[in-house]
């Protein structure tokens, strides 16, 4: 084998390298077994998601949470700080694999918060799995992600299957809707949710429509909803579409209840839909912020705004990894550490099942009241 190796060394490099040319090998960095504070390993954690580009909002909310967790950790461990390595995928599955490879090649990276979206997860997670690098996603909710047998996959929130039934239940039991209209945005997330809701509501669904992401004019959908006589509308999708949708619905004179899921749990929804957002019901498999007032206070102090969608999950995911580092784990041993993790985080009890799903998922309902998203109890 060695001889073929030498044979393959290109001429050009040999010439370039001149006398300095040697071979390198054997000194695998961070061989493990180092006991915590003895020698600082300069470990890093990775943040994998859209930090720039059109999908950057979500990524930045998560990153804010992660940074908060890092601040907490580095305050306690000033002698051996952990740094954050950003892998900015722009939410684009095309860019994801090469970024994943970059993270894998950086032996100092012991865990990844992300990938943030389901699409990029599918593109990047096989590589993370092969390399044994733990990923904890704070936001990718596609149900199937956990059934690929990726042993490094963990999800710090509920998947679409936990939220859909809860939303349907809420529409039936609390909103007491008898005629429900369901719209999705054709995204994996939105359609997945909406389909579950459609199934659970059965015959009380009086109409369906599918819109497209980045669509802004919903006049056809408005006509469909108003003419169906629906008293409630479930929208599976994200806030950029939810805001103009509800605004145009209200402008069109529709008076029913607007029910959405966590993709819309975002202050910008209210900022943009203004009055039209009032009364919107948001379901979310996330614990209301008032459950973790310290986190909310710290976040507000640092970023001058309330925690946003998935900031808490980002904080929790990073905290798990940082706890691992504090416990002296490296990339290889981190996997078991995360598997057996069981602590209370800011969003929920952080504990994973065999498939890497959060073990304890509760879905809460929120309501937009007076321009704020306020909790209105768990959906049971």
């Amino acid at each position: 084998m060695r001889s073929t190796l030498k044979f393959a060394v290109p001429l050009a490099v040999a010439a370039l390298a001149l006398g300095a040319c040697g071979t390198k090998g054997g000194d695998t960095p961070a061989a493990g077994g180092s006991g915590g504070a003895a020698a600082c390993q300069n470990f890093k954690i990775g943040m994998f998601g859209a930090l720039t580009g059109p999908n950057a909002n979500l990524g930045i909310y998560i990153q804010n949470g992660v940074n908060l967790a890092l601040d907490d950790y580095n305050k306690k461990h000033a002698d051996c700080k952990v740094t954050l390595e950003n892998y900015d995928s722009q939410g684009d599955p095309t860019q994801a694999p090469a970024l994943a490879k970059k993270a894998i090649d950086d032996k100092k990276v012991v865990g990844i918060v992300g990938p943030a979206f389901s699409g990029e997860s599918k593109a990047a997670d096989p590589a993370f799995n092969e390399a044994g690098l733990v990923t904890i996603t704070p936001s990718a909710t596609a149900t199937k992600l956990s059934s690929n047998g990726w042993k490094t996959f963990f999800r710090a929130l509920g998947n679409d299957d936990t939220q859909g039934p809860a939303a349907a239940k809420y529409i039936k039991d609390t909103v007491k809707s008898t005629k429900t209209f369901v719209i999705d945005d054709a995204s994996e997330y939105g359609k997945g949710l909406a389909d579950t809701v459609r199934k659970d509501l059965g015959s009380q669904v009086v109409g369906n429509d599918t819109i497209q992401q980045k669509q802004t004019d919903f006049s056809a959908s408005v006509t469909k909803v108003t003419s169906s006589g629906a008293d409630a509308l479930f929208f599976g999708g994200y806030s950029p579409e939810a805001a103009p949708l509800i605004k145009q619905l209200r402008d069109g004179g529709w008076k029913g209840t607007f029910v959405v899921a966590d993709g819309v749990k975002d202050q910008s929804f209210i900022d943009n839909a203004k009055d039209a957002a009032e009364g919107t019901i948001i379901t979310c498999p996330c614990v209301p912020a008032d459950v973790a007032p310290d986190f909310q206070k710290a976040y507000k102090a640092k970023y001058n705004e309330d925690p946003n969608t998935y900031s808490g999950e980002g904080y929790d995911a990073a905290t798990i990894l940082l706890d691992g580092i504090a416990a002296g784990k490296d990339r290889k041993t981190m996997l078991d550490f995360v598997k057996s993790y069981d602590k209370k985080g800011v969003t929920k009890q952080l504990k994973f099942d065999d498939k890497g799903e959060s073990a304890d998922i509760k879905v809460f309902a929120y309501k937009v009241e007076g321009g704020k998203i306020v909790g209105s109890g768990e959906i049971k």
Binding site: G25, A98, L99
Partner: protein, 382 residues
């Protein structure tokens, strides 16, 4: 990018001189130079040359992306550069190639990669004919919007069709069969000088999940084949017919060129190459969803062709490299990447309106123009 503006004229002249000298070299030396260059390209992802290597993303992966852009640019160059048809929906064919691979090797059948890729090419080609047959009679700018619409229709169909996986996409696309012949080590520069790193190697040709270098090699091979094809076809009756059609469609028709047939041929070939690049992309990515085939990509493809110099195959290769590589290389601009890219396009349009490497004829025409200007000046002063 800015280096190519100010001193463009002077370097151009020097380069021509250099090229003439190279060409006067004995044939054996020329062949040797080509071999060395090919080996260099082949080794590029493993050399980790400082400054060239992308810091923010894996260089092998980036090079693969660059290679797919090169392939796409070569295909689109046939349509835009040779036949003069402005195609703003090229991403449609790219998507069709990728999805054919996805559907036939993962989603609905488990055909082998070797079978699926030719099918992908054929499907893309057929879709090119199906799109082209009714629309190629439409002229110039109308064609641009029709093709743009086609690209969107393809994407929307992918998003909204459950059979094609809708937004969730298609996962677990199998890798091509590989053989593991030998390992190629990489070069490590961390000590300041190049050291052969025997730990980080790429296996020839093992198509794995975490090593993109073999895919890059595969793409290089495909590019070489497509280039050869391009050269052979361009320097034939077919190439002349395309150019004549581009220059003056009516005149070409009246000189006996069945222009519609040749436009359709260009369109179909372009589509086939687009489909091939899509197929390669799907192979390497292992996962595809409609997000990878947005309209913006079509715009970038066109930019690659025009930036490099539509009509010159070497130019469009350079253009593709610029468009695909620079945003990755300058990741540190992060949020400003697109802004900087846009600025670069504008500057380029102003300072290199014929593209970075214009077709050789344009170069020659420019020289002739310059000479004429000198002559006219001489006359005026006399």
């Amino acid at each position: 990018m800015s280096t190519s503006t100010g001193t463009a004229a002077s370097t151009k002249q020097r380069r021509l001189g250099f090229k003439e000298r190279v060409n006067n070299l004995p044939r054996a030396v020329k062949i040797l130079l080509w071999v060395v260059f090919a080996v260099f390209l082949f080794m590029l992802p493993l050399l980790n040359i400082p400054f060239i290597t992308t810091e923010g993303s894996d260089f092998g992966g980036v090079l693969f992306t660059v290679a797919t852009y090169v392939l796409v640019a070569l295909g689109l160059n046939i349509v835009v550069g040779y036949a003069g048809l402005l195609d703003l929906g090229y991403v449609g064919f790219y998507a069709i190639g990728a999805y054919t691979v996805g559907v036939l090797s993962a989603e609905h059948a488990k055909l082998s990669w070797v079978v699926v890729v030719p099918i992908a090419i054929v499907v893309a080609m057929v879709s090119g004919v199906v799109l082209g047959a009714p629309t190629l009679r439409v002229r110039g700018d109308y064609l641009a919007i029709v093709t743009l619409g086609f690209g969107e229709i393809v994407r929307l169909t992918l998003v909204n069709s459950e059979w094609l996986g809708a937004s969730r996409g298609i996962s677990d696309i199998p890798k091509p069969p590989g053989v593991e012949l030998f390992e190629v080590p990489s070069i490590d520069w961390s000590s300041g000088a190049p050291v052969v790193d025997l730990d980080t190697t790429s296996t020839f040709l093992k198509f794995g999940i975490t090593d993109f270098v073999p895919y890059y090699w595969l793409a290089l091979g495909v590019i070489a084949l497509v280039l050869l094809f391009d050269i052979l076809v361009k320097s034939s009756r077919v190439g002349r017919a395309w150019e004549a059609t581009r220059e003056d469609e009516d005149a070409a028709e009246l000189m006996g060129v069945p222009t519609f047939r040749f436009k359709l041929l260009a369109f179909a070939l372009g589509a086939a190459i687009g489909g091939l690049s899509g197929a390669l992309f799907a192979t390497k990515a292992g996962f595809i969803n409609p997000q990878s085939f947005e309209l913006l990509l079509s715009i970038l493809f066109i930019a690659a062709v025009v930036v490099g110099g539509a009509g010159n195959r070497w130019g469009v290769i350079v253009g593709a490299i610029v468009v695909a590589y620079f945003p990755e290389r300058f990741r540190e601009f992060a949020d400003f990447r697109v802004l900087v890219f846009g600025l670069a396009l504008m500057l380029l349009a102003i300072f290199r309106p014929q593209g970075l490497l214009p077709p050789r004829r344009t170069v020659r025409a420019k020289r002739a123009d310059a000479r004429q200007a000198v002559l006219e000046e001489g006359e005026a002063s006399a």
